[in-house]
Symmetry: C2
Subunit: 251 residues, 2 copies
């Protein structure tokens, strides 16, 4: 798949380098295909873990559990993402990475990755870019959690997945619709809401004919109106770039 579709926000002059980095890393990782079942923890909080991964198929999540049972899903990984890059620099994992579905991933030794980072410019770009891209998405979520209400958060949640899945061709464009393996509890843990409230707001989205989120499948009935709801949470890029599929407002 073309990097320009996968990384639409990057400076175009970096694309060839990025592609080379992806390939070099892929070669370094190819020896170590891994398979995890849904529910497995790939790495745990506090653990020393010597690998990063490239997610090939399935969904995974970075999450943290508080001592009193509260839980937050910090980020969601989709195929193509590098997982655990940050941790290559740290002594231990600050949070867990768990499989939301069955997962296949390629494993890369931290030592190998760090060696490539310092000796191979393209890999350096690829790794730094993954960190930058994670950070950009995280920034958007911080806005959402800090300043948006439940409706905006869920609209944004749906559209962010829609956009990311489109880029890796996992959306059925007809409807449009896509599979979405999170339970309502997990959606709540990601959006900072309770399961009860998630349920109510999703019902509202359904009743207003904006989007249906049932049976592990999301169907978006009205992209522009949904995007209107989530609009405050998009950064300037996404607002002005309907071609990313994030904000398909009429031109």
């Amino acid at each position: 798949m073309a990097d320009s579709a996968v990384y639409p926000l990057v400076r175009p002059e970096l694309l060839p380098t990025l592609q080379r980095g992806t390939n070099t890393l892929a070669r370094a990782a190819a020896d170590n295909p891994c398979l995890f079942n849904a529910g497995t923890e790939i790495m745990s909080e506090g653990e020393r873990h010597g690998f990063m991964y490239r997610l090939n198929t399935g969904w995974a999540a970075r999450s943290r559990r508080l001592e009193d049972g509260r839980r937050q899903i910090i980020a969601i990984f989709l195929p193509g993402d590098l997982m655990g890059v940050k941790a290559a620099f740290l002594e231990r994992q600050p949070d867990a990475i768990t499989c939301l579905t069955d997962v296949t991933a390629d494993r890369i030794d931290h030592k190998t990755a760090l060696h490539l980072l310092t000796t191979n410019g393209a890999v350096a770009v690829r790794l730094a870019f993954q960190l930058a891209e994670d950070e950009r998405r995280l920034h958007n979520w911080v806005i959402g959690l800090g300043r948006a209400d439940a409706l905006e958060r869920l609209a944004f949640f749906i559209l962010e997945l829609y956009g990311r899945l489109r880029r890796i061709q996992l959306v059925d464009e007809a409807e449009p619709s896509f599979t979405m393996p999170l339970t309502q509890q997990q959606i709540g843990d990601h959006t900072g809401l309770t399961i009860v409230h998630v349920n109510r707001v999703l019902r509202r989205l359904r009743e207003e004919n904006l989007a249906t989120c049932q049976l592990r499948r999301v169907t978006i009935h009205d992209v522009p109106r949904l995007a209107e709801l989530a609009r405050p949470l998009f950064d300037t890029f996404e607002r002005e770039a309907p071609e990313f599929g994030l904000c398909a407002a009429p031109a």
Copy 2:
């Protein structure tokens, strides 16, 4: 100052490389000392901006403004931080960087930085590390905004600053206390609360003799009890590492 103190969470074997990267970048930046007044926007939302910066003195913030006036301060930069690394990979700035005080910073051309990233292993480590460290702090904030109440958020806010300022020796250890130039409005914009609520909760912290936050100065009266409040929001590192000054719970 020793990197080991400034970057306490990093893998020790990376420290020398990190230090070299810092130095190389510093040399690349030294030609371009910049001075900004409090309130200035170093870069704006949507702008094409060709530089990243190393903050030397003063405070700055990454923030985003929504169309209806809501505002979120995504991150706070303190002396020593690299600002705008992420944007080196993107076509435009998704959010603004504004000066909370008068600021001095060294400017680095994106092209130079990207060139060094690909040709100089130590710089690659330094840049990737800055991104990873930003991301780690952001992860902590996501937990806070998603799952913590106002009291926990403000306790965490104060202790996070305390820890970071300690490492760069900007804390008066006697009390302990430190200058903190944010207005209550800005604290609210960072913690996802309204100014009114920030005020009430700060009053509560003061009345319970935990911390005073007045006249641009924070004084912590009882570090352990404050840390007890914020404890859920620390990652495993910080919880177990009283020497970082983040969690000074009795051993």
